[in-house]
Symmetry: C2
Subunit: 337 residues, 2 copies
DNA sequence: CGTTAGCACTCATCGGTTGCGAGTGCTAAC
DNA sequence: GTTAGCACTCGCAACCGATGAGTGCTAACG
């Protein structure tokens, strides 16, 4: 059996209807609502075929049918191919960002709020990070006699701060001198490069071993591809959808949203494509079986970039979400550059 | 009518039972489960009195009774007065913090996870902040030709970073010189003091007006008592409790948890007391009517401190929560000092 | 041979009824 | 003051039957 033009049109109608209503759609609905000049009996036969092909499923024998993940994939591919993405007024989104927002963190938090309230799904945004940040400056600030704070500033604007123990008898001025010395030695290096540079320096540093080991540990930690932290907006939105009226499922979703590693897995894009759509099983996570995630990346000056995404039920309003995501992404790029 | 010893014992039994079961408790339950040598009829009379006094309420005529907010307040006051707080093994909590956690943000996130998983309620933790932070260092890093990043480091370890526009023709070295100049002028000052210092400096800065105005705006923003950001753990835990099986209520709760301002209102403690317990209406927020929040503050070296708290249903396991909070608070103070 | 009308059948859902039982207030006796 | 007894209330769960949306199959039609 082959997927012909008519089957596809019917499938499309079913998906459209299901996205709007979330109730299994029957043959009569298609034949009446989406005037295609066919009787319900014919639709029935076609639907039976579509089920055999793996595009439709029946929750139970005497109910309509619902699209499978495979069907959504086909549907989405078709959308993208034909550029069938909603057009929304960018002004409408710009208006949300008019107030003066200075801190990056605030901008991102606000963007997550806007994104979630516009889509009615859950929004996730990662702070911009450079794939290979270069150290720009390293600063030590004494906090107490045994502790200091290390601040490493990179070209991507990432700031890594950590407390480390320091050796006895090091005063503020010495710390400042060391900061300048280390900045000179390390600036322009990536964390991986810095790590070996620090190890080379170790023997020369005499009584500052404890301090240096602290910095080394921080550099090592930073040199590993560290999962960025994510800002979430509208985590409760999922509760509005009937498929998540089950408390158990909703709780699983919320704990997923709170787990940084899981989010990282979802938001990760190896290739810097314009956007990614992952539908249900495509995420590779069993708890995402009936969810879909759409991500777009944004860039801020230089090569550092972040990701913003929307997580919603698998029957997501893809055209709308895609257009909103793209517009917010543009807005975010501008604001953070 | 007066609240006597026996009435109080009965009320206590009712509250205990209701906290455990969440179902309205009847006279028979009290007389049998909590052997107090009284028949259910007597209990019934006392319960009727307690209702008249405003400590009990009946969801409907033929059901048992549930404690009012007033009752919980009495109950909690009694607990505190008698020091009836659970004793938990601090080792058990320490074990959760054994791994090496360098970044403050990670420590807090982890603490929120531990706190929520131990209490089974929602945990909220604010990053430590000093009531009147003093500037330690100000650093400008050029990002592009028109933009620079300002990093202000305070004695509380707070780092305020923001992007500002800079005047044309300022290179990296000049920025560095300005950083040192400004650090010299501003270090040791609070943000409020810095604000006027900057305004004094303005006329002298010649062609760096744009830059200075950027810094001034940042200082002004920082000088206002800014609400700290909160880390939340276990936001979905609330869904486990029958009183929040209502989707509508759960969604309200989740959006509350996401709103920084609301959290700030809940976590705010004007006096630095050891802990605060706010029960239902005492929070002053209508959406918190049947929730309670317990907060404890923790201190990190110096005068900077943060708050950690637990939000749960009004029938919270107060003795358990209090002891866990105190232990985690101690742990957090140690880790961040 | 594809399309469609007709029909028997399935089964989730919804509204109504009923019985149960937990709980109450009241009264009268101890 | 305490308690046994009793009539009464009312939420809740279980049961039941009607409803209707939906299906698959068959036979007739163009």
């Amino acid at each position: 059996m082959i997927m012909d033009e008519r089957k596809f049109r019917i499938l499309q109608a079913i998906i459209n209807d299901y996205i709007l209503t979330a109730i299994p759609v029957g043959s009569r609905t298609i034949s009446k609502k989406y005037a295609m000049g066919l009787s319900s009996a014919t639709i029935r036969n076609e639907m039976s075929d579509l089920e055999e092909l793996g595009y439709l499923a029946q929750p139970h024998i005497s109910a309509g049918r619902i699209p499978s993940a495979k069907a959504y994939r086909l549907y989405v591919d078709q959308l993208l191919q034909n550029g069938m993405i909603d057009t929304i007024d960018p002004i409408q989104i710009q208006r949300h960002f008019e107030g003066r927002l200075h801190k990056m963190e605030d901008v991102i938090r606000h963007a997550a709020a806007v994104l979630s309230s516009m889509t009615h799904y859950t929004a996730v945004i990662s702070a911009p990070s450079s794939p290979e940040p270069h150290i720009k400056r390293l600063q030590l600030i004494s906090v107490s006699e045994q502790m200091a704070m290390v601040v490493i500033i990179t070209d991507a604007g990432i700031i890594r701060d950590a407390m480390i123990g320091i050796d006895e008898g090091i005063d503020n001025d010495t710390l400042y001198a060391i900061s300048n010395f280390l900045t000179e030695k390390l600036s322009g290096l990536t964390f991986v490069q810095a790590l070996s540079a620090i190890n080379d320096l170790l023997p020369k540093m005499g009584t500052k071993q404890k301090l240096m080991h602290g910095i080394e540990a921080l550099a090592r930690q930073s040199s590993q591809k560290t999962a960025p932290s994510y800002t979430v907006g509208g985590s409760g939105n999922i509760l509005s959808y009937p498929e998540y009226s089950d408390i158990e499922k909703a709780r699983d979703f919320l704990s997923l949203i709170e787990t940084n590693e899981k989010l990282a897995q979802l938001m990760m894009t190896n290739e810097p494509v314009s956007f990614t759509i992952r539908i249900g099983p495509e995420t590779g996570m069993p708890e995402m079986r009936d969810l879909a995630v759409v991500t777009v990346s944004y860039v801020t000056g230089g090569d550092s970039c972040g990701t913003l995404g929307v997580i919603g039920p698998i029957r997501m309003q893809y055209p709308k979400v895609l257009s909103i995501l793209q517009t917010v992404s543009k807005q975010l790029s501008e604001l953070l550059s």
